[in-house]
């Protein structure tokens, strides 16, 4: 089977020749290519090159056009500080609670900030792998973009002090996300991952997720589906068991789960939804390959009967992870039927 067929089969709970494996490696691909993270996050060409080299090195089933969580907010005017060996961070946020959103045009993905670099990367990656390997783009979820535009504390206080203003910000963010996601599909991504860490129950309660985020996520996934996304992949880290029903309601048919959620919990709350996870990401930096192999085997055993599983980490594999540990993750699926 081709990688992409293997992933599609897993999403549809159909038989596969082996369990698919996706290593969530972004900056790590720069490190193994001998480049700095700054090189990686500034250039779509460099990012695509690093991703292709890492694919050749590790042999997993998906490549990513993922830079960092600041692409959209930078495109809207946030000022970033770039660092050689780490991801950039927001120096000053684009919006304040008084920003008139009606006066702000949606960023054009072909020209705003680093958005065109992401589009170049998905085009290059798709040209390189065709329909053999899954090409994954990335957009932030509306909640996460709202917190990146305003700052986390200000955004959360706005939600309480001025709920209508917060909803306007979320609606604006939703439009940005949809436009950027569709552009990625048009330029070659099989799907954009919807990355929404600020919607985690670690940050906001489940009822907040249901009231504020769920309706917007539904819009995002409906728009991406209409644009031809191969699947609806929702990525929220942390203890997400309490919001899993809402994640499914959003239209997601592939959900990431972190180490806080056990396979049994996941399967009981999302019995017929494909999932990917959930090895603790720090283990890739701190542990030995035997431990990664053992954890991977445990997950493969847990999902063997049910299917609908993609072996992965619970969140991003840190940039300076040990390559042998990524090898161990991938090799676990090779000897497993």
């Amino acid at each position: 089977m081709k990688s992409i067929e293997r992933i599609q089969a897993a999403i549809n709970f159909e038989a596969t020749d082996r369990v698919p494996v996706i290593a969530q490696v972004f900056g790590h691909t720069a490190v193994v290519s001998g480049l700095t993270i700054q090189d990686y996050v500034r250039s779509g060409r460099v990012m695509a090159d690093c991703q292709m080299k890492a694919l050749a090195r590790y042999g997993y089933d998906a490549v990513f056009a993922v830079m960092d969580v600041n692409v959209e907010t930078e495109a809207l005017g946030s000022r970033l500080t770039y660092r050689p060996n780490d991801y950039p961070y927001v120096q000053s946020h684009a919006f304040s609670k008084d920003t008139n959103l009606k006066a702000i045009p949606l960023p054009d993905p072909s020209s705003a900030g680093r958005m065109p670099e992401i589009l170049d990367a998905v085009t290059t990656l798709r040209r390189e792998v065709g329909d053999e390997v899954l090409v994954v783009g990335c957009v932030l979820g509306p909640m996460t973009l709202a917190t990146q535009l305003l700052g986390m504390e200000k955004a959360l206080y706005l939600a309480i002090d001025d709920p209508e203003g917060f909803e306007r910000l979320l609606d604006f963010s939703t439009q940005v996300v949809i436009r950027f996601g569709i552009a990625q599909i048009e330029r070659g991504a099989h799907l954009p991952l919807v990355f929404d860490p600020s919607a985690s129950p670690s940050v906001v309660p489940p009822r907040f997720f249901r009231e504020f985020e769920l309706p917007r996520l539904k819009k995002v996934f409906a728009a991406l589906d209409a644009a031809g996304a191969l699947a609806a992949w929702l990525h929220i880290a942390g203890p997400t068991a309490s919001i899993l029903p809402f994640c499914l309601e959003s239209g997601a048919n592939l959900v990431n789960f972190d180490y806080y959620v056990t396979p049994d919990e996941l399967m009981s709350k999302a019995p017929s939804t494909c999932c990917n996870g959930n090895i603790k990401c720090l283990d890739f930096e701190e542990e030995v390959p035997e431990k990664i192999l053992s954890e991977s085997t445990g997950l493969l055993e847990a999902f063997a009967k049910r299917g609908g599983f993609i072996l992965s980490s619970g969140c991003e594999i840190p940039p300076r992870s040990r390559s042998e540990n990524v090898d161990a993750l991938v090799s676990a699926t090779r000897g497993w039927r």
Binding site: T81, R83, N85, D86, Y89, M152, E153, L156, Y157, A159, I160, P201, S202, V203, V204, P205, F208, G238, P239, A241, S242, Y259, Y260, K280, C281, L282, D283, E285, E286, P318, P319, R320
Partner: protein
């Protein structure tokens, strides 16, 4: 003594209503209630009730931040500045280390510690380890709290105890927490305690510094 004023303060804090909380605290002071008692029975009680609600499954920043904003407003009301002659409070120095610009977790710890009556020195985010240790020495800290959202600060965290010991400050407890650090053990980070939540860390301090 009628405790209705203290109960009203606790309710206002748990509602996240900072204006009402400050008014209630001010009323208690005007009635002659000691600051220490307001901290213990008002702020401390609100913190304990919040702690009870915030299991790993239920812990969320939004709720903590709302209560925290109210608590910090009351702390400012009660301690507009350090007053000579008042009994010294236990000091804890907190920071996010160099390279880590996320300070929300640290701010939550600061709020919980303040609510529990600790004196908190905030060294901010992106703080060099040496600056943090200097501050701990200068302020006579009993503990250092390090919040880390990203794994790249781990190498600095591992050096903290050793640097403290080199300067004769080995008695200072080192606590770590935050999304990246709480995935590790205290032994691997070479710290005294790894906290799952801010409350978890404050509970540890309460027993370790007793």
């Amino acid at each position: 003594m009628d405790n209705s004023g203290m109960r009203s303060l606790v309710d206002a804090l748990l509602d996240g209503d900072r204006a009402r909380a400050v008014t209630e605290a001010r009323s208690l002071r005007n009635e002659g209630v000691e600051v220490e008692r307001i901290v213990v029975e008002g702020l401390g009680s609100a913190m304990e009730q919040l702690d009870g609600k915030c299991t790993i499954e239920e812990f969320n920043l939004l709720e903590i931040m709302l209560v925290g904003r109210a608590v910090m407003s009351v702390v400012k009301e009660l301690f507009p500045r350090e007053v000579p002659g008042e009994p010294p409070r236990i000091t804890v120095v907190v920071a996010s280390l160099e390279g880590d610009v996320h300070d929300l977790g640290k701010n939550i710890v600061k709020m919980v510690l303040s609510g529990k009556g600790y004196r908190v020195i905030d060294c901010g985010k992106d703080c060099p380890l040496g600056t943090l240790i200097d501050a701990a020495e200068r302020h006579g800290a009993a503990a250092i709290g390090i919040s880390g959202l990203i794994t790249t600060v781990i190498s600095q965290v591992k050096k903290a105890k050793e640097l403290l010991e080199q300067r004769g400050l080995g008695h200072i407890k080192v606590l770590a927490g935050g999304a990246a650090l709480k995935q590790a053990t205290a032994e691997s980070l070479k710290v005294d305690f790894v906290a799952e939540t801010a409350f978890d860390g404050v509970r540890y301090l309460g027993s370790a510094l007793r």
